[in-house]
Amino acid sequence: MRQFILKRLGQSALLLFLISLLVFGILQLVPGGPLDNLAFSNPKVTPEQLHNLEKLLGLDRPAHERYFTWALGVLHGDFGSSWTVYYGRPVLSTILGRLPLTLELMVISTVLALLIAIPVGILAAVRQYSRLDYAVTALSYFGISMPVFWFGLMMIVLFAVELRWLPTSGVQTPITGGDAVDLLRHLILPVTVLSIFNVAQFSRYIRSSMLEVLKQDYIRTARAKGLIERFVILKHGLRNGMIPLITLLGLELPVLFSGAVITETIFSWPGMGRLFYDAIVQTDWPLVQGILLFSALLVLIGNLFADVMYAVVDPRIRY
């Protein structure tokens, strides 16, 4: 296993280098730059002034020189400075500043979704074709198909505007808020919106996987041995049924860090998703590069984690 992990880490380093080249190269092809808005909104800005601002941003240097400066900086933990979203602020500290709120939202909604989806999926599989199974299936399709944007707005209208139980958006009430209750109240709606989709998705996976597992010979053997049904399902069935879910969770790991741009936009939740969107719209290439590289790193770690967890869950798998 150790050799496997070391080999994968080596491959990941090479992959990251190639990804950094790709990310940097693609962004150079995008027309326009960070000074376009300034140039167009103020005809009095002279070409010399724009050239001076370009020099300050390092844009007067050739692309390969800029890449090497940036890549070398990344190796030392310096991802460069933001051009437009937060002018002059370090990219890494900007990303790390958004990370806690992103993790808070994504981890809570994912854990909540799992806590609901796993028992619901198991029940639906065990009582296949029952009313419960049909209800779970219908609600799952509803949850997967429903536009997050619309659902989020409906929740705001109902709970924040009409009932006034919860706030419309944000992380905390300005000035007077910030205590645990206030933070929790602000979390409820975005977590609910995100969880609904995840519950729908996860419960479908669990149900399908459990249905496959429950047909296996070893399950029949366990029952024939006289084991109680709960023991058969949870000890023998669930462990095998979780394997596809682990794959899914491994791929979800980067999403935990990259956020959910639509949910964050509706609820004005300052997470990574919204930061990425703002960086693209405002042509803040250092920030875009930093976030993409960070996300690539997390995808690689997530894949490695999923592969390692396979071996933990399924003793037949050895590297």
């Binding site: 995008v30 027309p31 326009g32 376009d36 808005n37 300034l38 140039a39 167009f40 909104s41 103020n42 005809p43 009095k44 800005v45 002279t46 070409p47 010399e48 002034q49 050239h51 001076n52 601002l53 020099k55 300050l56 400075s81 933001s82 437009t84 979203v85 937060y86 002018y87 002059g88 602020r89 370090p90 900007t94 500043g97 958004r98 709120l101 707005l153 705001i156 209208v157 924040a160 505007v161 006034r164 706030p167 419309t168 958006s169 944000g170 992380v171 905390q172 300005p174 000035i175 936009t265 509706i266 609820f267 004005s268 300052p270 997470g271 919204r274 930061l275 703002d278 405002q282 042509t283």
Partner: protein, 592 residues
């Protein structure tokens, strides 16, 4: 005995009456309890709070409350003295021409009112000189250095007196050769290379040229290229009614009132700018009572149906402002260079229908590059040639151009159908406007082809897009008009983008028909600083410009501003001034 009782009764009644009167007087003196905070929603977050860096409107909104300028534009539009004792003008002697011949130059004197920075240190003239030098430092990422560069020197004569000295003709030529006392790089003075014979350098907004106030005592030890990264950029100290208390990135900026603000203590203790990205959520915030104001950078006119139900609790201001939507004609295009074709298009577009159908009837037809509420337009309104919708006139113009209607209903000349391409961006309003224009022009026999481009491509300079590269026939977009009409920047012939000048310049039509008038109005010092001469010159420019029709103005854009009905002294602005410019005067009762 009886008399004593009467006297006693009388005394008692008198005392009682006095007490009652006092109670009544005390009741009148009780003021309504003010709200602890006013929350403003906007869909942008500033990139920095360092004045002079960046160009986001969100920054301007926050600085409107945090910073007090010497002289600033208000909502009317007019320029008022706030941190200065008075607005220095030629008329009141605050500004004057000094010297003779090529040494003649404009000097503007500002007297600073006695007041302090938000940390209690006094604001002095040295702070202005420091700021001016900072602007000229190439390592300071100033977003617009043009104002600072027009000055040869900015002196702190004493603690309260600033003298801004514009360049004389001789000094401008010296500067173009690298002999400016502060900024040495000649490329910074490229405009002054050929200044010989053109007189002194001036600016129509000369009365704002002391506004380089920065707290020198806080910034002098920070290198200019590090200032954008400093704490000052997130938590600045200025001289305004509200001080930045906390900027929670991605969430809100909280400002607190300064009790000793020199123009009057703000009544509302805190001001919060909340970043709400989605307009529907912003409206939900208003409905739920979480937001008291939606600024002009939160909503657009498409939100009007959602805003109408709020009219019982909120004032919904729909004011045509400074942005004017228009169509540029490329005067070097073989079809568009014909004035008859341009006039046909102008007469053939029904702007009222566009406004009624797409803008809820809340906008106004634009007739020139200056809005009709502007002080330069009003006295000259009669000189502006107006193109009222008239199909018959449109068709007549096309006939004068030699076109005749073919069997397919479209005009043609020499066997070639009159087909024109209109390019613009893909924003919803632009698409809808373009479609209505296409329908209108079809009725007069013009086949209009529509092309929608991503803004970055449409406005690109290098490599040039259709505007800068001047490959367009008709281009539709918005300009932002300011107090200074700046015909020079937009419509002087030498500001046409060409390959030779690396496609720089904003005169996309390539118009040069008013060059003489523009040079007199915008480049001749005596006219530039004297509105009694400049306004009539602009009257002539407007007449020539609307006659030659290099551009067809369409309508003024409208940005909704929403504020609680009980928020007193909130002044929605049609100018470039932020709504927060007079925030110390705001009053809002606490919610019960």
């Amino acid at each position: 005995m009886i008399e004593r009782r009467r006297l006693g009764l009388l005394a008692g009644l008198t005392v009682g009456a006095v007490l009652l009167a006092a109670c009544g007087g005390t009741e009148k003196a009780v003021t309504t309890k003010q709200a602890a905070s006013v929350t403003l929603g906007m869909d942008q977050e500033p990139d920095t709070l360092f004045a002079g860096i960046g160009s986001m409107m969100a920054r301007t909104e926050v600085l409107g409350a945090a910073q007090t300028l010497l002289v600033r534009e208000n909502d009317k539009p007019e320029f008022v003295a706030l941190a200065a004792e008075s607005k220095p003008t030629i008329a009141n002697g605050g500004a004057k021409f000094v010297g003779t011949g090529t040494d003649r130059h404009l000097e503007v004197t500002f007297k600073i009112k006695t007041h302090n920075w938000q940390d209690g240190k006094p604001v002095t003239a040295e702070d202005a000189r420091f700021g001016w030098l900072l602007y000229l430092d190439p390592k300071f990422p100033a977003s617009a250095r043009s104002a600072a560069e027009k000055l040869w020197d900015l002196q702190a004569v004493d603690a309260k007196t600033i003298v801004a000295k514009f360049m004389s003709e001789a000094q401008a030529v010296q500067a173009s050769k690298g002999q400016h006392p502060v900024l040495k790089d000649p490329s910074e003075f490229a405009d002054y290379k050929e200044w010989a014979g053109k007189g002194p350098v001036v600016d129509p907004l000369y009365f704002t040229f002391g506004d380089f106030l920065y707290p020198r005592h806080l910034l002098k030890d920070i290198a200019p290229d590090k200032m954008a990264k400093s704490d000052f950029a997130s938590k600045p100290v200025y001289n305004g009614p509200y001080k930045v208390k906390e900027w929670v990135k991605g969430q809100q900026i909280i400002l607190e009132a300064q009790d000793n603000f020199f123009l009057g203590t703000p009544k509302i203790k805190n001001m919060v700018f909340k970043f709400v990205k989605d307009s529907s959520v912003m409206i939900a915030g208003l409905r739920a009572g979480e937001l008291d104001v939606a600024t002009q950078i939160g909503l657009d006119l498409d939100n009007k149906p959602e805003l109408d139900p709020l009219a019982d609790r909120f004032n919904i201001h729909l004011i045509p402002g400074t942005k004017w939507e228009h169509i540029d004609f490329n005067l070097d295009d073989p079809v568009m260079k014909d004035i008859h074709v341009r006039r046909a298009i102008a007469y053939g577009i029904n702007r009222k229908t566009i406004i009624d159908n797409l803008l809820y009837g809340k906008s106004e037809i634009a007739n020139a590059f200056i809005p009709d509420w502007h002080p330069y337009y009003k006295p000259n309104a009669a000189k502006v040639v107006k193109y009222t919708f008239d199909v018959a006139k449109a068709e007549s113009e096309l006939k004068d151009a030699g076109y005749a209607k073919g069997a397919d209903g479209f005009m043609a000349k020499g066997g070639t159908k009159l087909k024109i391409r209109l390019q613009t961006t893909g924003a919803t309003l632009r698409k809808q406007t373009a479609q209505l224009i296409k329908d209108d022009l079809k009725k007069i026999g013009i086949d209009l082809e529509l092309e929608f481009l991503v803004p970055k491509n449409f406005f690109a300079q290098s490599p040039p897009g259709p505007l800068h590269g001047r490959t367009f026939q008709m281009g539709m977009y918005t300009w932002l008009a300011s107090f200074d009409p700046d015909a020079e920047g937009l419509y002087l012939g030498s500001h046409t983008p060409t390959k030779a000048n690396a496609w720089a310049g904003s005169n996309f039509p390539g118009y040069n028909g008013a060059d003489d008038l523009i040079q007199q109005a915008d480049l001749k010092a005596e006219n530039v600083v004297d509105e009694s001469k400049r306004i009539p010159l602009y009257g002539q420019i407007l007449q020539k410009w609307t006659t030659d029709l290099p551009v067809f103005p369409l309508f003024l854009r409208v940005s909704p501003m929403v504020a609680r009905k009980d928020l007193k002294n909130f002044r929605p602005t049609k100018t470039s001034a932020p709504e927060t410019w007079n925030s110390w005067e705001w009053e809002m009762p606490a919610k019960t």
